[in-house]
C-alpha cells in the first residue's frame, strides 16, 4: 500500500509538473511562432497583411444573434447582422426613409390597399439564384404560420388575411401575398397603411430563398448553408464567438459596397469591449457608463437619435392615479432636463412629448417640432394640480405610492431622482421598489404595479408604432387606459389614405395622451458609439439597426 501511494503521489507530481511546463511552453509558443512565421509569410496572406489591402471592419455584436432566420430573430442583436446579410423590398436610405431595395418600383392603387412590387432583374441570392417574388411570398407566409411561432408575426397583420392565419383561424391561402410572376409581387392590405413601405424595411419582411429553405429547413443555422441577398454574405460563424461577413459579389448594388470584410465579435462586457477598442481590436465600441463623463465630449464619438422612449406608466385602476389632475401633478413635478443631463447622461435628450424627433411629416416637418412640448416642469402648477386632484377625490392624505422599476443601475438612479423631485415639489414620499425584469414585466402586464418604469423601442419608422400601444385592451397598454376618442384617432392614424389627415390624427392622439397623462415621458433613447479614426459611413438608423452598405475604412 505504501509503495502504491508513493507511486501515486510521484505520478501525480510528475503529471502536474509536466502539465505546468507544458502550459508555460504553450504560453510562449505562439509568440515564437509569430516571430518566426511572420517574415516567412510576408508574401502570403497573414491576418495583418490582409488588413493592409483589404478593408476589414471589426465590430462587436455583444452576443450571439438569437437567430439569423429573418422570421425568428426579433431583437437588435439579430437585426444588425441581418440587415447587412439580407435586403427587403425596401431599404432605409441615407435620410432614414424607405427607398428601393430589392423592389425597383411599386404601384399603389388609389384606395391604398393593393401594392404591386416589381423586383430588380439583377437581384440575386449569394448562391447566384435570382431573387424572385415567390421568395417573398414563401418568407412572409412562413413568418405568419402559427407553427413557426415568430415573435415578429404581428407586424404582418397589415396584410389582408394575416391575422386570421396567424391566430390559427384562417387559412394560408387567404393571406393576400401573391407572386404574380417571377418578378412581380402583389400584396393586398387589410386597410390602407400609409407607412407600409417603412414596415417592409424590418427584417421580418426579408425574403427567404424558398428553394434553399425547402431543401434544408435549417439553412440559417450555419455559415456553410446560409444564403442571403444583402450587401454582405456570411463567410464564417463560430457560435458565441465571431461572425465574419464578406462582400457579396452577387448583390445588385455591389459597386457601392466598399468594405471587403466585417468581423462581428461577441463581447458582452462593456469594459472589455472598450478595452478591446483601446487596444485596436475593435473599430467601434460603446461607452462604459463609468467613463461616460470623460469620453462623451471626444471627437471620435458618434451621437445619434434612437427611436425610443423611457417613460413611467400610471396604473389608472389604482388609487390615486384614477385622477387625471393627480397624474398631471406628478408629471409637472419632473425636471426632465436634470434627469437627462445629470442622471442618465451620455448625451440623451429629455422628452417633452412621447414621440422622439426624427419622423418627417408629409409636409416635410418633424413630428416633434409640429406638436411641440406637451409636458413640462412647473412645481407651482404641480402643487396646485395635486391639491385640486386631492379635493376632487376627497383625500386628506394621498394614498401610499410605490414606484417600481426593473433592477438596473441606471433605472435606480432615475427612480431615485424622481423620488427626490416628488418629495421636493409635491411633498409626496413615494416608496421605491425594484424587481428582476421578468417578475417586474409580469406584474406590469397584470396591472399589479401602481406606478412603473417602461421603455419603448420602435419597430418601424412611424409615430403610430408607439401611439398604438395605448388603444383599449392593447397587449402593450398596461395602464388600464381606455378612450373611444383615442381609439378612433389611432384607427385614423393607421389607415387614413390622405397622409396629411393621417398625421393630423397622430398629432391629436399624442396631445390627448399628454393631456390624459397616462404615462410620464422622461427621455428619448440615443445611440452613442466610439468610432476609430478612418471609420466612415456607417448608417445608424434611428429605428432599429445599422447599415454597413456605405461604410468605409480609410
Amino acid at each position: 500500500m505504501k509503495k502504491l501511494l508513493f507511486l501515486l503521489i510521484a505520478a501525480l507530481t510528475v503529471f502536474f509538473l509536466a502539465a505546468c511546463t507544458a502550459n508555460e511552453d504553450a504560453g510562449k509558443d505562439p509568440e515564437e511562432k509569430e516571430k518566426v512565421e511572420e517574415p516567412a509569410e510576408t508574401g502570403d496572406t497573414t491576418d495583418d497583411e490582409t488588413t493592409m489591402d483589404e478593408k476589414v471592419l471589426r465590430l462587436n455584436n455583444s452576443t450571439e444573434p438569437s437567430s439569423l432566420d429573418p422570421s425568428i430573430g426579433f431583437d437588435a442583436v439579430s437585426w444588425d447582422p441581418l440587415n447587412n446579410l439580407m435586403e427587403g423590398l425596401t431599404r432605409l436610405d441615407k435620410d432614414h426613409q424607405a427607398a428601393e431595395g430589392v423592389a425597383e418600383d411599386w404601384n399603389i392603387t388609389e384606395d391604398g390597399l393593393t401594392y404591386t412590387f416589381t423586383l430588380r432583374e439583377d437581384a440575386k441570392w449569394s448562391n447566384g439564384d435570382p431573387v424572385v417574388a415567390a421568395d417573398f411570398e414563401f418568407a412572409w407566409k412562413y413568418m405568419l404560420n402559427p407553427e413557426t411561432a415568430s415573435a415578429a408575426a404581428f407586424l404582418g397583420y397589415f396584410i389582408e388575411g394575416a391575422e386570421a392565419y396567424n391566430s390559427g383561424e384562417g387559412s394560408v391561402d387567404d393571406v393576400k401575398v401573391t407572386a404574380v410572376d417571377e418578378k412581380t409581387l402583389e400584396v393586398v392590405l387589410a386597410q390602407p397603411t400609409g407607412f407600409f413601405l417603412d414596415v417592409l424595411t424590418n427584417p421580418a419582411f426579408f425574403p427567404i430563398n424558398h428553394k434553399v429553405a425547402e431543401a434544408n429547413p435549417d439553412w440559417h443555422t450555419e455559415a456553410e448553408t446560409y444564403v442571403g441577398n444583402g450587401p454582405f454574405k456570411l463567410e464564417s460563424w463560430s457560435h458565441d464567438e465571431e461572425m465574419v461577413f464578406v462582400k457579396n459579389e452577387h448583390y445588385w448594388d455591389a459597386a457601392t459596397v466598399k468594405l471587403d470584410k466585417v468581423h462581428f465579435a461577441m463581447v458582452n462586457d462593456s469594459n472589455t469591449q472598450y478595452q478591446m477598442f483601446e487596444a485596436g481590436d475593435l473599430d467601434t465600441a460603446g461607452i462604459p457608463p463609468e467613463l461616460s463623463d470623460q469620453l462623451i465630449e471626444g471627437d471620435n464619438v458618434f451621437i445619434g437619435p434612437y427611436g425610443g422612449l423611457e417613460f413611467f406608466r400610471f396604473n389608472l385602476e389604482m388609487e390615486p392615479f384614477q385622477n387625471k389632475k393627480i397624474r398631471q401633478a406628478f408629471s409637472y413635478a419632473v425636471n426632465r432636463d436634470d434627469i437627462a443631463q445629470f442622471v442618465v447622461k451620455n448625451g440623451v435628450e429629455p422628452a417633452y412629448g412621447f414621440i422622439n424627433p426624427g419622423y418627417t411629416s408629409p409636409t416635410g416637418e418633424d413630428f416633434r417640432d409640429v406638436n411641440g412640448d406637451l409636458v413640462g416642469f412647473d412645481p407651482d402648477k404641480a402643487k396646485q394640480l395635486l391639491e385640486e386632484g386631492m379635493a376632487e377625490e376627497g383625500y386628506d392624505e394621498l394614498p401610499p405610492i410605490t414606484l417600481s422599476y426593473n433592477t438596473s443601475d441606471t433605472n435606480k438612479a432615475v427612480a431615485e431622482a424622481l423620488h427626490g423631485m416628488f418629495n421636493e415639489h409635491l411633498g409626496v414620499e413615494v416608496t421605491l421598489e425594484n424587481q428582476e425584469w421578468n417578475v417586474f414585466s409580469e406584474a406590469q402586464k397584470a396591472l399589479e404595479l401602481q406606478f412603473s418604469r417602461s421603455s419603448f423601442i420602435n419597430d418601424y419608422n412611424d409615430p403610430v408604432n408607439f401611439l398604438e400601444s395605448f388603444i383599449t385592451d392593447s397587449y402593450m397598454n398596461r395602464t388600464g387606459f381606455s378612450s373611444a376618442e383615442y381609439d378612433e384617432l389611432i384607427q385614423k392614424g393607421k389607415s387614413a389614405t390622405n397622409e396629411e389627415e393621417r398625421w393630423q390624427a397622430l398629432y391629436d392622439a399624442e396631445k390627448l395622451l399628454a393631456d390624459e397623462m397616462i404615462a410620464i415621458p422622461i427621455r428619448y433613447y440615443n445611440t452613442v458609439v466610439l468610432e476609430a479614426d478612418g471609420i466612415e459611413g456607417i448608417l445608424r438608423h434611428p429605428v432599429g439597426y445599422f447599415d454597413l452598405k456605405y461604410a468605409d475604412k480609410k
Binding site: M1, L5, L8, I9, F16, L17, C20, N23, A26, G27, D29, P30, E31, E64, S66, S67, F74, D75, P146, E147, T148, A149, S150, A151, A153, F154, N166, S167, H220, T221, S238, H239, D240, E241, E242, A265, M266, V267, N268, D269, T272, Q275, M276, E278, A279, D281, E436, W437, N438, V439, S441, E442, A443, I457, D459, N465, S469, S474, Y475, M476
Partner: protein, 310 residues
C-alpha cells in the same frame, strides 16, 4: 468495492431525480415567461410561442416531458436561441469551460501547494508572511476586479497579452491567472495549516530521528496527510471551475458555458435551465464520488468497502 459503487450509483440517480424535480418546481413557480422581451408583442404571438414550446400544456405534462428529455439526454432547442439545441450549447461551451477550468485547477493546485509548504516550513518567517500575504490578497480580491486590472495593465497599457476572446494559448494566460488566484489562495492556506499540524506529529519526529532527509520527510510523510483537506475541496472546486465561471467568461468573452447557467435563468429559458442544471449536478455528483474513492486510496484509515460491512 463493486457493491459499494453500485449502491453509490443508485444514490446518484436518486439525487439527480430530486434535483430535477426541485429545479422544475422552482422554475415554474418563479413569475415570468421566456417571451417577456422588451420588444413589442401581442396576445396571438404570445400564444403561438407558448404552444410552440409546450408551455401551454398542464404542468404535470410539462414535468413528464422534462423527465423524458433528461432520460433521452435531448433537451430540445433553446428558447432564447431557437436555432440551437441545448445539447449544441453544452457541447460547444463545456469543452471550452473545461479547458479553462482544467488549466486553472492545475495552476492553482501546484502554486497553492508550493506556497503552502514553503509557508509551513518557514513558519513565522519572511516567506511565510509573503506567501500568506499573497493568499490573503488572492482570497479578498474578487476575480472580476483582478481580471479588469490585468486587462488594463497587461493588455491595454503594456500590450503583452490580448485583451479578450479565446483563440490561442496567449489568450488563456490572463483568464487563467484571474480565475486561479482564488482557489490557489484557499489551497495554500489549507496546505499550510495542515502541514503545520502534521509537522508536529510524533511520526514526523520519528522520521527525523531516523535521519531521513527533510525532502523525504515532507514528500513521503508530511505531504500525504496534509493533502487530505485539499482533496476534500477538490471535488466541488473542479466541478465549479470546469463548468464555467460566468464572470470571468463574460469579461474575457470566452464562449464557455458559464453564461448559460446565469442567463438562462434571467431569460426563463426553461430547456437551457434544465439542461445546465442536470449537467452540472451530474458533474458535481461524479466529482464527489471520485473524491470519495480518492480518500480511500490516500488515507488507509478510510476503508470505503469495509464500511459497508459494519
Amino acid at each position: 468495492m463493486l457493491k459499494y459503487i453500485l449502491k453509490k450509483l443508485l444514490v446518484m440517480v436518486l439525487t439527480l431525480w430530486i434535483i430535477i424535480t426541485l429545479t422544475f418546481v422552482l422554475m415554474v413557480s418563479v413569475p415570468g415567461s421566456p417571451f417577456n422581451s422588451e420588444g413589442n408583442s401581442n396576445e396571438i404571438v404570445q400564444q403561438n410561442l407558448e404552444k410552440h414550446y409546450n408551455l401551454d400544456k398542464p404542468l404535470h405534462v410539462q414535468y413528464l416531458l422534462y423527465l423524458k428529455s433528461v432520460a433521452t439526454l435531448d433537451f430540445g432547442p433553446s428558447i432564447k436561441q431557437p436555432n440551437q439545441t441545448v445539447n449544441d450549447l453544452l457541447g460547444r461551451g463545456f469543452p471550452i469551460s473545461a479547458e479553462l477550468g482544467f488549466i486553472t485547477i492545475i495552476v492553482a493546485v501546484i502554486s497553492g501547494i508550493i506556497l503552502g509548504i514553503l509557508a509551513a516550513l518557514r513558519h513565522n518567517g519572511i516567506i511565510d508572511y509573503m506567501a500568506m500575504g499573497i493568499a490573503v490578497l488572492g482570497i479578498s480580491i474578487p476575480n472580476f476586479i483582478l481580471a479588469t486590472l490585468l486587462i488594463q495593465n497587461l493588455a491595454v497599457n503594456w500590450e503583452i497579452f490580448p485583451v479578450a476572446t479565446w483563440k490561442s494559448p496567449m489568450h488563456m494566460v490572463l483568464p487563467v491567472f484571474a480565475l486561479a488566484t482564488g482557489p490557489m489562495a484557499i489551497i495554500a492556506r489549507l496546505t499550510r495549516s495542515t502541514m503545520l499540524e502534521v509537522l508536529t506529529q510524533d511520526y514526523i519526529k520519528m522520521a527525523r530521528a531516523k535521519g531521513l532527509t527533510p525532502w523525504k520527510i515532507i514528500v513521503k510523510h508530511a505531504l500525504r496527510n496534509a493533502l487530505m483537506p485539499v482533496i476534500t475541496i477538490m471535488g466541488t472546486l473542479l466541478a465549479g471551475i470546469m463548468t464555467g465561471s460566468f464572470v470571468i467568461e463574460q469579461i474575457f468573452a470566452i464562449p464557455g458555458m458559464g453564461k448559460y447557467f446565469v442567463e438562462s435563468i434571467n431569460h426563463r429559458d426553461f430547456p437551457v435551465i434544465m439542461g445546465t442544471t442536470v449537467f452540472y449536478s451530474a458533474f458535481l455528483i461524479v466529482m464527489l464520488f471520485l473524491v470519495d474513492i480518492a480518500y480511500g486510496i490516500l488515507d488507509p484509515r478510510i476503508k470505503v468497502t469495509k464500511k459497508e460491512g459494519e
